[in-house]
């Protein structure tokens, strides 16, 4: 199944979905996208730009360890990382075997061992709900799903309880991870 088909299916199976954008973190580039009618290219660009900031160096600097705190919120991550993203790549450094990876990012990011790479961000604002995931073989693929808030957080409280919304977010997250992992 092609990536475009996967994105199309993800959009069709996600209630309230406005757009699905697949892009590259290191280049900040939209590679594939599907969207509801009327969604302009600029909206895709902005969604990807936002994801680049939150999942890239800026987001990482926010969760940088606090010297002396000594808690797991600032602890060094395991060498292997998690969520399918090798830590060395997510940090922008070279892969363990020393090859110069495609996923290399800015040198200052790579040289700073204190920054905590971000695997996922979810943002809710006037523009809707945006789920941003990072993954892929090099850890530089990004998937941004934009949901219309009015459809996702419908006033019908019986139908949209917090538990129902949480379950919906989990389902969308699983689908995003599957796309980034290349599962069909």
């Amino acid at each position: 199944m092609s990536l475009s088909t996967q994105l199309e299916q993800l959009k069709e199976r996600t209630p309230g979905c406005r757009s699905v954008v697949f892009g590259d973190l290191s280049a900040g580039t939209v590679l594939r996208s599907v969207a509801a009618p009327g969604v302009r290219q600029e909206v895709h660009d902005r969604a990807l730009f936002e994801a680049c900031l939150l999942l890239g160096a800026e987001g990482a600097s926010i969760l940088a360890p606090v010297p002396g705190a000594g808690l797991d919120i600032s602890a060094a991550a395991s060498a292997d990382g998690a969520a399918g993203t090798p830590r060395s790549l997510a940090m922008g450094g070279a892969p363990p075997d020393g090859r110069a990876g495609h996923g290399q990012t800015a040198p200052e990011e790579a040289d700073d061992p204190t920054e905590e790479p971000i695997a996922r961000a979810i943002r809710v604002d006037a523009g809707g709900v945006r789920l941003m995931y990072r993954g892929g073989e090099q850890g530089d693929d990004m998937l941004v799903v934009t949901l219309a808030t009015e459809e996702f957080a419908v006033p019908d409280r019986e139908a949209a309880s917090p538990a129902a919304r949480e379950a919906a977010l989990h389902r969308i997250g699983d689908a995003c991870r599957a796309v980034l992992a290349g599962d069909e």
Partner: protein, 342 residues
């Protein structure tokens, strides 16, 4: 007066009346067909002068010209002193950009500074000097940042004029270019403190400008609580209640929390760490004033806590969450927003 004289006078009066009527019609037509006085002030040689427009002044006017151009055109912007900017534009998107900033004292040796940026150019092995290096199909953050810097430099030179020319054909039809919205955000992030068109207090700090962050929010850490309440349009008492209710609803999902106004709870050392994260969050411009939003960041490392940032109209909240509770926190946030008076 003779009959002939009376007829002559009546004829003259009728003629004058007709002349006056014609003059009124001509004046009315002239008003209808005149160019708008602000943006289309005509100058010799087919150039129009751009007027500074809020919120960013001349850069906004420059971007408005790009946004108004649907057909393929080469827009040439001229500044006093010889600086110019050639922008290949099509379908409201900037495809190619060449800035000739002239002899500027700030440049190396006072030499001529020229920046030629092909945005989203098709792969080209011939031009290895292009920042895109034939890799990008759309503008990356670095490209946008360089573009914003060049536009800023040009607009600093003084009043601009613009001339619309036929496209030069240097851009491939495969080029994607960059939309005005992204450029506008990049420029907003670069706006200097107290710069042209910016409201007092609405600025980015140095860290945010250097990082090219897109949001141009205030440095909230420098605002006192009364200022924040003033920004909240007089409804500041609602927000802390909503945030408190949200924290209460989180229950055991929250390990520690902290408000920008100083209140905190949960594990003490972690709450102290959240204070620093909250300051970083605000200083990077992720917390624009007066906007309600929530963001949760999940680190790669599984032994590192996810952090939730929530903002209502007059306060900002940071919460260290239990692992795996991000979706629940967002769902509760939406629930709190849907029932503000609960």
């Amino acid at each position: 007066m003779s009959e002939r004289g009376r007829n002559l006078r009546v004829g003259i009066e009728q003629h004058d009346e007709a002349e006056k009527h014609h003059a009124e019609i001509a004046q009315f037509l002239a008003q209808l067909t005149a160019h708008p006085p602000v943006r289309n002030r005509a100058t010799p040689n087919r150039q129009r002068q751009l007027e500074a427009a809020p919120p960013l002044g001349l850069p906004t006017a420059l971007l408005a010209e790009v946004d108004a151009t649907v057909m393929a055109r080469c827009l040439v912007f001229f500044a006093p002193g010889g600086a110019s900017l050639h922008a290949e534009v099509s379908n409201r998107r900037l495809l190619h950009f060449k800035a000739d900033l002239g002899d500027r004292p700030g440049t190396r040796g006072g030499s001529k500074a020229s920046r030629d940026l092909a945005i989203g150019a098709a792969p080209s092995s011939a031009d290895h000097t292009s920042p895109t290096e034939g890799v990008l199909t759309s503008a990356g953050i670095a490209d946008v940042s360089r573009l914003a810097a060049a536009i800023e430099d040009l607009c600093r030179s003084g009043p601009l004029t613009v001339e619309s020319r036929p496209p030069t054909g240097v851009v491939s039809a495969e080029s994607a270019g960059v939309g005005v919205a992204v450029l506008r955000q990049a420029l907003a992030a670069r706006a200097p403190p107290g710069g042209e068109g910016h409201a007092p207090g609405h600025r980015m700090n140095d860290a945010a400008r250097s990082s090219g962050t897109i949001w141009a929010g205030p440095d909230a850490t420098e605002l006192s609580p009364p200022q924040r309440t003033h920004q909240a349009n007089g409804t500041g008492s609602e927000a802390p209640r909503a945030l408190s209710r949200f924290v209460h609803a989180l229950g055991p999902r929250a390990r520690a929390w902290r408000l920008l106004t100083g209140r905190s709870g949960g594990e003490p050392v972690m709450a102290d760490a959240l204070e620093q994260m909250l300051e970083e969050w605000c200083s990077l411009g992720f917390a624009p004033p007066g906007e309600t939003h929530a963001t949760v960041l999940t680190p790669v490392a599984s032994n590192t806590a996810p952090v939730f940032f929530g903002q209502t109209i007059d306060d900002v909240l940071a919460v260290a969450l239990q692992n795996g509770s991000e979706e629940g926190a967002i769902a509760l946030w939406l629930d709190c927003l849907a029932s503000p008076d609960a």
